[in-house]
């Protein structure tokens, strides 16, 4: 299963463009941030809670455009609900096709939306010191976070699987896209969070974690890009994805990666330990995360557009 055979198809491109690109981008950030939040809650210290809430906010805000983008992308936006409900005469009722990532994704997005929204209000009320309503803590809270982690990871990555479960050249020629999108979604989230802690003092205790994890995720992403390339070699689709004009996008994506992997700015952010941050470092962190974010957008753009 390492290398796929060259599967020659004569598909027409589905005309998935900007809406989908930005959906993939925001879903990556939302899923990634929420996963990070859950991870912090599950395995972090109590001092990580502010960062977890920050991540929850990010997840929520990034999620907001998702249904809008998805709906606008439809040829019949008012029928967005047909993703969940079958209106075929004789087969009315909910529709779920586990073998169709778009169907799975539609349901996952609904559930994930529930998680994120609930967590968001939970974080919000806690931040405001309001009492109700709140999510449980303890074992149930753990379970909640565990499930949230799973859905977060899924939302960040399934979009890659969705592309693969097709007969498009490039997309269907590789098995790496799910992982790749997840890794890049996570690294983008970590980068973004690493930068945002600047504006939220209590969360700065976790800054080191963000910077560390960002590098881990990026390493993972790099490995998957290599795997992506390797899987495409036998199919001959390599030139298609990496040829002009896509080369430029890949360069951007790689610069993003390189920036994240080689700089230590985030380390410096946390180096002060006591919460005072060097101004220079903060600026550097901001550009670094911006570059990383642009990088993950470029990566998705290259993969979506070059195949079509």
């Amino acid at each position: 299963m390492m290398l796929l055979d060259d599967a020659q198809h004569f598909v027409r491109d589905p005309d998935w463009t900007w809406y989908i690109l930005f959906y993939f981008f925001f879903a990556g950030l939302s899923g990634g941030s929420y996963a990070i939040a859950c991870l912090l809650r599950l395995f972090g210290k109590s001092e990580d809670e502010p960062a977890a809430r920050l991540a929850t906010y990010v997840a929520f805000v990034a999620l907001l455009p998702c249904p809008v983008l998805l709906t606008l992308d439809l040829g019949q936006p008012l029928r967005f609900w047909h993703m969940l409900v079958n209106t075929s005469p004789g087969a009315e009722g909910p529709i779920f096709k586990y073998w169709s990532p778009m169907s799975v994704g539609a349901w996952a997005l609904v559930i994930f939306g529930g998680f994120v929204t609930a967590s968001f209000f939970d974080a919000w009320t806690r931040d405001r010191d309001r009492r109700f309503p709140r999510l449980p803590r303890g074992f149930l809270g753990g379970l909640w976070s565990l499930l949230g982690l799973v859905f977060g990871l899924f939302i960040a990555g399934y979009t890659g699987v969705l592309l693969s479960v097709s007969n498009q050249p490039v997309w269907s020629d590789t098995w790496t896209l799910g992982g790749l999108f997840l890794a890049s979604g996570l690294s983008g989230s970590a980068a973004l969070l690493g930068w945002l802690v600047r504006f939220r003092k209590p969360a700065q205790a976790t800054a080191g974690v963000f910077s560390m994890s960002e590098r881990v995720f990026q390493l993972l992403e790099l490995v998957l890009i290599v795997a992506f390339v390797v899987t495409l070699i036998p199919t001959g689709a390599l030139s298609r994805t990496f040829g002009l004009p896509w080369t430029a996008l890949w360069l951007v994506a790689l610069v993003g990666l390189a920036r994240g992997l080689t700089t230590r700015t985030t380390a410096r952010v946390s180096a002060a330990g006591d919460g005072t941050v060097a101004v220079k470092a903060v600026h550097a962190a901001a550009t670094a995360s911006l570059i990383v974010l642009i990088g993950i957008l470029a990566l998705r753009a290259a993969i979506i557009f070059s195949a079509q």
Binding site: Q76, H82, V165
Partner: protein
């Protein structure tokens, strides 16, 4: 034409060895289905339609292999013409991925997109290995050959088959068509036309195509994936999710490490 009975599998046997590229099928399809067609553009003089799309549910391909010689055999193999259409695959990639259930198998065992169910997500377009479907921008739904579902329900054969003057497009119960195709193949082979081959008549391609072909060259020449390449989108589900899972596990582990270590190793820790 014998009676058309629900419950039986219907389809087309398209015999490209007798196609004369007259495009009556294209026009008949447009007329019956009230398709506007695309704005006129010059293609290569003979094929100005280009491809199957939302406005063209039949498309006649022209493949010119004519040798520059003062005499030569035609036999359907020097200038190949083939009327392309949705294959109504037994294992249909489009139907497999469609999240809304808009794509169904009808009582005639054909693959039909219900225009009132489809929401225009276009997943089917990326799935169909034959480039059959396109979204109609005006209507906002995916469109392709319906195998004249409405006509079949009314007991009429499809418009394109009806219009085809040379019986290159033959409509009927798939079982009968397969027999006919086999016979025609034998005749052609008997006449020394070794190039002739059937495509999609058996399970090797997507479990069998209800609209199958007699070709005069390799399938790839006609933009048809060969047996080896005839694979379904769902083949990528397991490996795609597995990679996703593996990555997720690694990412969680990575996250745990980050949470434990909390900071990067750094040379200028003094900062």
């Amino acid at each position: 034409m014998a009676e058309i009975t629900p419950g039986k599998a219907y389809g087309f046997f398209t015999d490209t060895s007798v196609c004369i590229g007259c495009k009556a099928c294209e026009v008949a399809c447009k007329s019956w289905n009230m398709l506007d067609g695309n704005p006129p553009v010059f293609g290569d003089g003979y094929d100005n339609t280009g491809s199957l799309d939302a406005q063209n549910w039949r498309h006649v391909q022209f493949l010119d292999n004519v040798a520059d010689q003062a005499a030569g055999p035609g036999q359907g193999k020097a200038w190949l013409m083939m009327s392309d259409v949705c294959k109504h695959c037994t294992h249909a990639s489009c139907l497999e991925v469609c999240p809304t259930g808009a794509i169904i198998r009808t009582e005639f065992d054909t693959v039909f997109i219900q225009p009132d169910v489809c929401n225009g997500c276009r997943d089917c377009i990326s799935a169909c290995p034959y480039g059959v479907i396109e979204m109609d921008k005006q209507k906002g739904v995916a469109q392709k050959c319906t195998l004249c579902y409405d006509r079949l329900q009314g007991g009429l054969e499809p418009a394109c088959a009806k219009a085809c003057p040379t019986q290159s497009i033959q409509f009927g119960p798939v079982i009968e068509l397969r027999e006919r195709a086999q016979k025609r193949l034998e005749v052609l082979h008997g006449q020394g036309v070794a190039e002739a081959q059937l495509y999609g008549h058996d399970e090797k391609v997507y479990g069998g195509l209800n609209a199958f072909f007699l070709l005069m060259d390799e399938p790839e020449k006609y933009n048809l994936p060969n047996e080896k390449n005839a694979v379904l989108p769902s083949r990528n589900n397991a490996r795609g999710y597995l990679t996703l899972l593996a990555t997720a596990v690694m990412a969680v582990l990575g996250g745990l490490i980050a949470i434990r270590r909390r900071r990067e190793k750094t040379d200028d820790a003094a900062g």
